[in-house]
């Protein structure tokens, strides 16, 4: 039932997208907007109604934020691929980036949300805009007085593309409606405990941070002469309780007093800290490779952007740092080498 609703809504969305591809009167555009948003809303409702609801959960207010964000993102994306003027398309893409960032925030990926904003909206998109404006400014012959070029106004094989996209959407969306237990839409207690224990163990790798934070907590309890952390019998600084909710450790004062402390989730490392740790601890090679890829892209961009110039023999020699050929012609090609 929900799946059929999903397919119908997807088809509706495809039709709307098709109609959006040509410039339309304002009223028509409004109707299309409504229909498109309705299609997205239908999809979301089909998916949400299908989602398993844990008994103790109640209504999560963030769900509606998710829905809003999704509507904004889809609207921006749809407009981006259909807008006849490239600059506007790029700006709509910024809207999509913003929505996705909010979604990241909702998914507790704070670092990625801001990184996305900075890198995409701030850097990449600006580059795109630059290039777009560079191209448009020079007066494209194909514009012929219109406000956009013909190739920006005329979609290419829209029916085939939409059918294909519908198939992709249906096929991938169908995975959301599967009712087998292999996908733990709601994390099981074991998964939660393991994730939390891993979060605490990250602290183990960051003893300075751990000491600083524990000392701060101890200071609220009036203990200020903290010297260091005591290592447990198993060689570890902290011991996590089996559920992963809390962790305990022991502080040593300068006078040798021992102060046991229990930490809860608020003391665990924040998203950016944990992400940085994971990046270095889990994916060091990939990190290096990413650096190499960026370097190569830099080189590639330099090579591509260089203007090809026809240089005479003397100029080439000069560019290569070789002496110029004197008028007597005593130096033949390669004679200076």
């Amino acid at each position: 039932m929900n799946a059929n609703l999903f397919y119908a809504a997807a088809a509706l969305g495809a039709v709307v997208l098709y109609l959006m591809m040509e410039p339309r009167p304002a009223a028509f555009r409004a109707a299309l907007t409504v229909c498109g948003l309705a299609a997205v809303a239908l999809i979301i409702s089909a998916v949400a109604r299908n989602a398993p609801v844990p008994e103790a959960a109640g209504t999560d207010p963030s769900f509606w934020v998710h829905v809003m964000v999704a509507l904004v993102a889809v609207a921006g994306a749809a407009r981006m691929v259909t807008h006849p003027r490239p600059v506007y398309a790029a700006l709509y893409f910024v809207l999509v980036i913003l929505a996705v960032s909010v979604n990241f925030l909702l998914l507790q990926a704070e670092f990625m949300a801001f990184a996305l904003l900075i890198v995409y909206a701030g850097a990449i998109l600006i580059t795109y805009l630059f290039v777009l404006m560079l191209a448009q400014q020079s007066g494209d012959q194909s514009m012929r007085g219109e406000e956009s070029a013909w190739y920006d106004r005329t979609p290419r094989e829209p029916i085939a593309a939409l059918i294909l996209a519908f198939i992709m959407l249906s096929a991938t969306g169908d995975a959301l409606f599967r009712r087998d237990n292999s996908v733990p839409w709601l994390a099981s207690p074991a998964v939660v405990a393991r994730a939390n224990i891993r979060a605490w163990e990250r602290m183990e790798d960051m003893p300075e941070l751990l000491l600083r934070e524990s000392a701060a907590i101890a200071e609220t309890a009036g203990i200020s002469d903290i010297a260091k952390l005591e290592r447990g019998a198993d060689g570890r600084l902290i011991s996590v309780d089996p559920s992963g909710t809390t962790a305990s450790l022991t502080l040593l004062s300068t006078n040798g007093d021992r102060h046991p402390i229990t930490l809860d989730g608020t003391a665990a490392p924040a998203n950016s800290t944990a992400l940085g740790h994971a990046l270095v601890a889990q994916f060091p090679v990939s990190l290096e490779l990413a650096g190499v890829i960026l370097l190569m892209a830099l080189f590639g961009a330099v090579v591509l952007a260089r203007r090809q110039m026809a240089m005479a023999e003397d100029e080439r020699r000069a560019a290569a740092g070789l002496p110029r050929i004197d008028d007597g012609g005593s130096l033949s090609r390669g004679g200076a080498a």
Partner: protein
């Protein structure tokens, strides 16, 4: 014994609501489909690349959503790498587009059909 009594007993990470995850995934696949449509229908080379960026966003969204579902940071790490590749791709692709534009004074991808026999 010192405890952080003020906050109560909160775990470092809490499981996400399935509905939220599923809505995010639905958004991801919709964005991907729209990006695909954009890549196939736009004739402007710059917008074609922009559509691929949209598909990148969809993939990043799915990664983060699944990472949230599994309560694992690897999903977000993948997004970092996607970002890297996207940046590199944008740099090179735009460089190429500029070069091609210099040759034919148009951004239409159909101006470049020499691969045809």
């Amino acid at each position: 014994m010192i405890t952080l009594a003020s906050m109560g007993s909160v775990a470092p990470m809490t499981p996400a609501m399935p509905a939220n995850i599923q809505v995010t995934l639905a958004l991801a696949i919709i964005l991907f489909a729209i990006g695909l449509v954009g890549f196939l229908t736009r004739r402007n080379m710059i917008l074609m690349f922009l559509s691929t960026e949209l598909m990148f966003q969809a993939a990043a969204l799915a990664f983060v959503a699944f990472g949230r579902m599994w309560m694992d940071l690897s999903g977000q790490l993948m997004v970092i790498f996607i970002l890297t590749v996207a940046a590199a791709e944008a740099a090179l692709a735009l460089g190429l587009v500029v070069l091609l534009y210099r040759r034919k004074e148009t951004l239409s991808s159909e101006a470049w059909a020499e691969l045809k026999e």
